[in-house]
C-alpha cells in the first residue's frame, strides 16, 4: 500500500497530512512550529506515521509547503502554500459541492484565493507584510484578555451589546487599544466580538480584491474559532464552508499533489 504525505511548515504550526492511493485522507497531525522548524517537522511527520502505523518508506512521495518548505530537505518536492491550499480546498470542497473562493487565515498572514472549476489558482491576494488581521492578532488579543484561544469563540456570542470598533489594524496598536477598552470598563465579550469583526472586515476586503464566487471555503487555524466564523459570515453575507480539519487543508493539498505527481511519474515511466 502506497501513502503520500504533505507537510505544511507554517509560521505558528506544522501540519502533516497523509493520504492513500485513492487520495482519501488517512490522517492528520498538528504541532506548534516553535523555533526549530526542521527538527519539529520531522517529529511531526514521524508521530503521525506512528499513529497510522506506517513506516517512512510507505510514504512514496512527500511534498513540503509553507514558509519553511525550503528548509525541509527530506521532502521530494516543495510547493507554495497558495497552490497547496487551493488543491486542498478544491479536494475537500468536493464534499460540499465545490468551492471557488478560499479564505485562509494563517499564523501570520491571510490569503484569499480564487480557483477555477478544475482547482487551478485563477487569482489570489495576500495581506501586506504586517500581521494585522491574522492568527497572530487573535493570539495577542487572547493574551491581553487572559483567555486562551479556544475560549474566544464562546465569548463572541456572550456579548449583549454591539461589537466594539477596534480601529487599529496593526497588531501592536490593537493590543494597547484593547487594554484601553478594558480600562474603560467594556466587557470582554463585546471587545472580542469587535476583534473578530475587525479581522473579518479586513479579510473580506482582501477577498474582494480577488473576487468572490458562490460558496466561500474558510480554513486555517482561526477557522476553528466559531465567533470569527460568525463575524466573517456576517461580513461576507455568503455561505461559509468549514472543513473538518481547517488547519490541515494546505498539508492535505500538498499530500494530494504528492499522490498526483507520483501517479503521473508512474504513468510516464510506463509510457
Amino acid at each position: 500500500m502506497n501513502y503520500f504525505a504533505g507537510i505544511d511548515v507554517g509560521s505558528t504550526a506544522i501540519k502533516v497530512a497523509v493520504v492513500n492511493e485513492a487520495g482519501d485522507i488517512a490522517g492528520v497531525h498538528v504541532t506548534a512550529s516553535g523555533s526549530l522548524f526542521h527538527k519539529n517537522s520531522l517529529e511531526a511527520l514521524n508521530t503521525l506515521l506512528d499513529k497510522l502505523g506506517l513506516k517512512r518508506e510507505d510514504v512514496r512521495y512527500l511534498i513540503a509547503t509553507g514558509y519553511g518548505r525550503k528548509l525541509f530537505k527530506e521532502a521530494d518536492d516543495s510547493i507554495s502554500e497558495i497552490t497547496a491550499n487551493a488543491i486542498g480546498a478544491f479536494e475537500a470542497g468536493k464534499a460540499f459541492g465545490g468551492v471557488r473562493t478560499i479564505i485562509n487565515i494563517g499564523g501570520q498572514d491571510s490569503k484569499a484565493i480564487q480557483i477555477d472549476d478544475t482547482g487551478n489558482v485563477v487569482n489570489f491576494a495576500m495581506n501586506d507584510k504586517c500581521a494585522a488581521g491574522t492568527g497572530r492578532f487573535l493570539d495577542v488579543a487572547a493574551r491581553n484578555l487572559d483567555l486562551d484561544l479556544e475560549e474566544l469563540g464562546e465569548y463572541h456570542f456572550k456579548s449583549e451589546v454591539a461589537p466594539l470598533n477596534i480601529n487599529s489594524t496593526c497588531t501592536v496598536f490593537a493590543e494597547s487599544e484593547i487594554i484601553g477598552l478594558l480600562a474603560n470598563g467594556h466587557g470582554k465579550a463585546e471587545i472580542i466580538a469587535g476583534i473578530h469583526y475587525s479581522i473579518a472586515s479586513r479579510t473580506v476586503r482582501l477577498a474582494k480584491r480577488v473576487g468572490i464566487e458562490d460558496r466561500v471555503y474558510f480554513d486555517g487555524g482561526p477557522a476553528l474559532n466559531k465567533g470569527l466564523v460568525a463575524a466573517l459570515q456576517d461580513e461576507l453575507g455568503r455561505e461559509l464552508v468549514i472543513p473538518e480539519h481547517p488547519q490541515t487543508t494546505t498539508a492535505f493539498g500538498a499530500a494530494v499533489l504528492a499522490r498526483n505527481e507520483f501517479v503521473a511519474e508512474q504513468s510516464s515511466e510506463k509510457v
Partner: protein, 433 residues
Amino acid sequence: MTNETSKVIPIQSIPYSRSRQAGESQDVLDHIIDDFHDNPESMQYFYDLFRSVYCHGEEVKHEGMLVGTTCIQAPEELIYAFGATPMRLCNGSYHYDQKGAEFMPSKSCSLVKATLGMLNSDNVIPKIGKPDMIVNPTTCDQKKKSSSMMGDMGYKVYDLEFPNVKESEASRQYWQRSVRQFATELRQLTGRKLTKKGLQAAFNKTGRAQAAFRKLHSYRLLSPSIILGKDIFLVTNAYFFDDITRWTEKVEALNVELEARKQAGFKAVQSKAPRVLFTGSPPIFPNLKLPLLIEEAGGVVVADESCSANRMLYDMTAVDEWMVNDMVDSLADKYLKPCTCPIFTKNEDRKRRLLDLVKSFNADGVVYQAFSGCQVYEMEYRSVAEAFNQAGIPMLYVETDYSPDDKGQLSTRIEAFLESMKNRKKQKQRAAG
C-alpha cells in the same frame, strides 16, 4: 582620575568596498552570477563592470561635460551632439533609498528617494563626479518636485518641460519647442555649436546602440529562452553610465554568442519554464529583486516594458531631411510619441504595447511591479489588469519597494503565480492534445 575604559572613539572611515552599501551590490551581483548556471561568457564584461563600479566604487570616465539625466525623456543625442556625455542618474540601491528617506516623504517612490539620496550623499556611486548640469524632464510629480531639491543640493538643474498629453498636436509642438530650448541651453552650457555633423555622429552612436539592443531583444523571442532576463536587465542598466560605444561593442559581442547558442539549440531554462513579461516600475541594479525572484522560481523574463530596458532603447528615430532643424524635431517626436510611461493621461498605448509584447514573445503571464508611492503605475494597474483579463492573460500585481524584507512573502506569491501558469499550460496542452 579617569577610568581607562572610557575613551572617545575617533571617526574611522572604512573603504567603500567594505561598506554596507557595497555589500548590498555585492550580494545581488554574486547571486546573479553564482546562483545561475552557464551565464553567457560575454556577460563577464558587464559583471566586471558592475563589480568595479558598484562594489569597488571605481570611477566612471566620461568625455566632455557631464549631463545627468533623471529620465529617459531627455534626448541624449543632443547631449552627445554637443560633445557632452549623458549619464542616467536613476538609482536602484536600498542604501540610497534610506538616505533619501531622511529628507523625503517616506511614501514617495523608492527610485526617486534613492536617486536623490545618491545625489545628496558625499560619495556618489556610480562614481561619475559632479554633473555640469542635470536635465530633469517634468514627467511624474515626484521627479518634478525633485528639481528644486536637487537645486538646493547645489546642482545646476534644467527643467525639460514635458507635456502630459501625448495625442494632441499642441503638446507635440510644445515638446518640440522645449527640446529646441534644451538645445540652446546646451549650447550655452558647452559653448559649442550644434552642427549637422555632430548631430549625425550622435545619431550614429545611439542608432548603433539601439540596433544592437533590438538584435539582443530579438533573441528573447526564442522559446525556450537562450538568455535570462536578469542578464538583460544588467546589460540595459549598464547603458545608464557605461561608455556608449564600448557598451554597443559588448552587446554586439553578446549577440554573436547568442547567435551561436541559437544555432546550438541551447536552453537557458527548462522548456516548460513559464515565460514572463515584466512591466511597471523599472528594475535598476542592485534592485533586481523581482526579476531575480521570478527566475529563481524557475520562470524566465522574456520581455519587459520598463524604462530601465525596453522603453529606453527600443524606439528608433526616423528623419526625413537630414538637416539640423529636422533632426532635432524628429528627436523630439521620438522622445514623446512612442513613450508608454503611465504619466500620460491615456493608458491605451501601454496596454496595446503590453498585449503586443505578450503575443509576440508568447509570454504565459505578466508581472506588474509598482513601487509603492508611484501613483501613476498604481493607478494604471486596474485598467491594465482589465485588459489582460479580457485577453485571458494572468497577471501578478506586486506593490513593493527597494527593501528586501518582503522577499519571503514575494517569493511565495511569485511561486504560486508560476505554478498556476504551469497548470494553465498543462491544461492547454491537454486540451490541445
